[in-house]
Subunit: 457 residues, 2 copies
């Protein structure tokens, strides 16, 4: 049923073309105004004496300062602003089997920071503050289905991390439920197959980050039955299934665990809160928190007016990046089995020091101008077209980030690519990646974003 959904793009309810034009139409219909305003003009928000920016309710999220010390690469010590939201939100997709095919109830959702205002989003996307109505809107649609789901109706239910460089230990509950009863399809919602969503992920900025992270947890090979066969899959799809089920791996999971244990034990990461007003290299003006050299990102305050949200108009801080990023996995067949080149990456907001990241994860401008480019950066950027399997711009969550995009790439290595890797890199089969993915805080959101875009068709 899931596998059929994955391989099906013919949807009696909405064709893929229809979905695209529906999103375009929604984009034309809704009026979104995002106006940058001084911090002190943000209704319901205030600055504390230390410069941090908080919601008047004390909940929702805050912009605070952190002091970071780590000894990775070399001794490093810096301060930076970060998003603090110490509560677990729901990212939920409601599904239903119709004529043997699984359909996902997806939402055309507008977020102030989205590059395309409207993106395809999960059925439910709600912070705890959201659904306990701190935001003074009404209860989120379909919340009840998730809160009351029985174990037998839960397909997937995982705590997964958000961006470790921007969020302080933030996690969300990624959940997919399957209901049997009829579900009312509200305005802004449409049924889509997994195959359609995967197809749409190959367009720039059309499927939002939350959809991608939820779907990344679905281990496709778990749902293959002899009846489905592999024959309707592409050769690449079949190779990915093989990599998901094989017992062969170039490096054993025991060795991966030891490798990661060693790295987490070897490198320190000390993070403490500090005043936003006391962050060397950063300044807080009445309109932004920004670095003197204007690198990395800045914090701005905005007034948002949107026509079809719970609350029609509100103010909030947003993170605005200074440049785009690159997230790329290199894959290589080892003894006929695809292996992913995985990086253990330390980021200041990580829940557990290091998470498994794509081969390359960096800010493009920084990388280009840096004396020492990130490992494998040149290899990815110079990959010939025939070795590039995935290449699309994907947005970060538009509720927190203003026009933040990362180029997501999947690149197949050539035959001469070395098997020997630097300390913080390893090879994993897709089966091994999914093994880690099931447990909290192993794969970072950038890695999950690319995994979710793997297309089997």
């Amino acid at each position: 049923m899931i596998i059929k959904s994955l391989l099906t793009e013919s949807n009696p309810f909405n064709s893929t073309v229809d979905i695209k034009s529906w999103i375009e139409q929604r984009n034309r219909e809704v009026e979104v105004e995002v106006e940058q305003i001084p911090f002190e003009k943000m209704k319901m928000w205030h600055s504390e004496s230390d410069g941090s920016i908080r919601h008047d309710s004390g909940r929702f999220f805050s912009i605070v300062g952190i002091d970071v010390r780590t000894d990775i690469d070399s001794m490093q010590h810096w301060r930076q602003p970060i998003i603090l939201q110490p509560e677990v939100g729901y990212l939920g997709i409601l599904t239903k089997e119709i004529d043997g095919v699984l359909y996902c109830l997806m939402q055309a959702k507008i977020e102030p920071g989205n590059v395309n205002c409207v993106q395809i989003s999960p059925t439910l996307q709600a912070t705890k503050s959201n659904y306990s109505c701190v935001h003074s809107g009404k209860a989120p649609n379909y919340l009840g289905y998730f809160v009351n789901a029985k174990p037998e109706n839960i397909i997937l239910d995982q705590l997964q991390s958000e961006q470790g460089a921007r969020f302080m230990r933030k996690r969300n509950r990624n959940i997919i439920i399957k209901v049997d009863e009829d579900v009312p399809v509200l305005e802004d919602f449409h049924w889509m197959t997994l195959g359609q969503i995967k197809e749409l992920m190959h367009c720039d900025n059309l499927v939002n980050m939350d959809t991608r992270t939820v779907l990344s947890g679905l281990k496709i090979s778990d749902y293959i039955t002899p009846l489905d066969g592999l024959k309707s899959m592409s050769e690449f799809g079949r190779s990915m299934i093989l990599s998901s089920v094989t017992n062969y791996s170039h490096i054993s999971t025991r060795d991966h665990l030891s490798w990661l244990t060693n790295l987490k034990a070897k490198y320190d990461l000390f993070v403490n809160f500090c005043p936003v007003n006391d962050m060397p290299g950063w300044k807080k003006t009445d309109r932004e928190i920004v670095r003197d050299d204007e690198k990395y990102f800045k914090i701005i305050g905005v007034n948002v007016t949107i026509s079809n949200r719970e609350v029609a108009s509100w103010c909030q801080p947003l993170v605005q990046p200074m440049q785009n990023g690159l997230c790329a996995f290199i894959i290589k067949k080892i003894n006929g089995i695809y292996h992913f080149l995985v990086q253990a990456k330390l980021e200041c907001g990580n829940f557990d020091v290091m998470e498994l990241a794509p081969t390359v994860q960096c800010l493009t401008g920084n990388a280009e101008n840096s004396a020492k480019k990130p490992e494998f950066y040149d290899y990815v950027m110079n990959a010939p077209k025939e070795r590039i399997i995935i290449d699309a711009l994907q947005s970060e969550e538009g509720g927190r980030f203003y026009h933040e995009q990362n180029r997501n790439m999947l690149v197949e290595a050539d035959d001469n690519f070395p098997l020997e890797l630097p300390e913080r890199y390893t090879w994993m089969s897709l089966r091994q990646i999914y093994k880690f993915l099931r447990f909290n805080n192993y794969l970072n959101i950038q890695a999950r974003s690319i995994i979710s875009a793997l297309n089997y068709k």
Copy 2:
């Protein structure tokens, strides 16, 4: 080799009786003096203006205050002292195969807080401060074997948590290595089989916590070969092997993950540092940090003089409990397979909100006098003798805790024991427990202590 080691107690180097008398002899030989002294008399330690107690080097460990808010059971808010040691230490056992049997190089180690001064300890037990010589002693014995171990010589290598009610997010690297070369056996070290160590765990306070946590990660069933057979095992041992290898489980791992995700998302745990001098219900005198009602535990300062340690005499703070504790697993055969009754327990110092704990984990005095006794407490305390499989007093780590003991129990449920459980409890086969145990911060140290004592002989 491992399984032979497990089932072997005949040790050509040291019989179990010899080991016991060796420990007794060491206890007689060494002179250990632990004298409680005022905090300000502790050499190399000082109190900060907020009342926290720190080592002059800024490393090692500190006693700090934390402010805890959680909404589990009901809204709760309290402050307490806690041990802060934000670095990962080594707990390492060096092993070697001799005549087809695996031997562990164990140490008769003295710790100031041990109930029996000398306990059987891992080959290596070293904090990062320790082995980078902050403690101004010499480098720990055998450290090099662990630091330079090659992947193929590493049997097990995991980050595991310490006591969540006493340590702030503390973890250690639990590692077992197997060497091929001859290893010098230093004074205070002896070769022991796994079977011998397991046997000694059934004595009170003889095998230290660090040994128990390291060995808990060894999944015995991984090492059974057809040649070893199961025939030299006890019926209980064979049942445990069955529970470790079976695909059957009363509740699926997917459901366990969902259950835990739900609990971690549902309950908040906010922990912030606060001044030791500002903790309602607690007072700091010149000699202790203690509650007004003298409950739970207190912090004391001691001067330690020991004859065979790296440093012969030193001062340090210790945690002294006000009462003993109880840690008990209830097990029950469901469809012929042993399942453990596992609790998801929130503790303030947990790295990840909740960890999997024994069925009952509490302070005995508190439980007895409380209006509402912990779930299953009475069941365990009233278990008839023939249903008690393990029952021994085990010490917590004597380097931080003064005479802290927990009664470790394994109790088999009777036929009428209900399968339906309260929200925070579930059934797991041993196979499922080991699945979680491989990954960081799932099984708490109390649960691991009991798992390590499972005897297959």
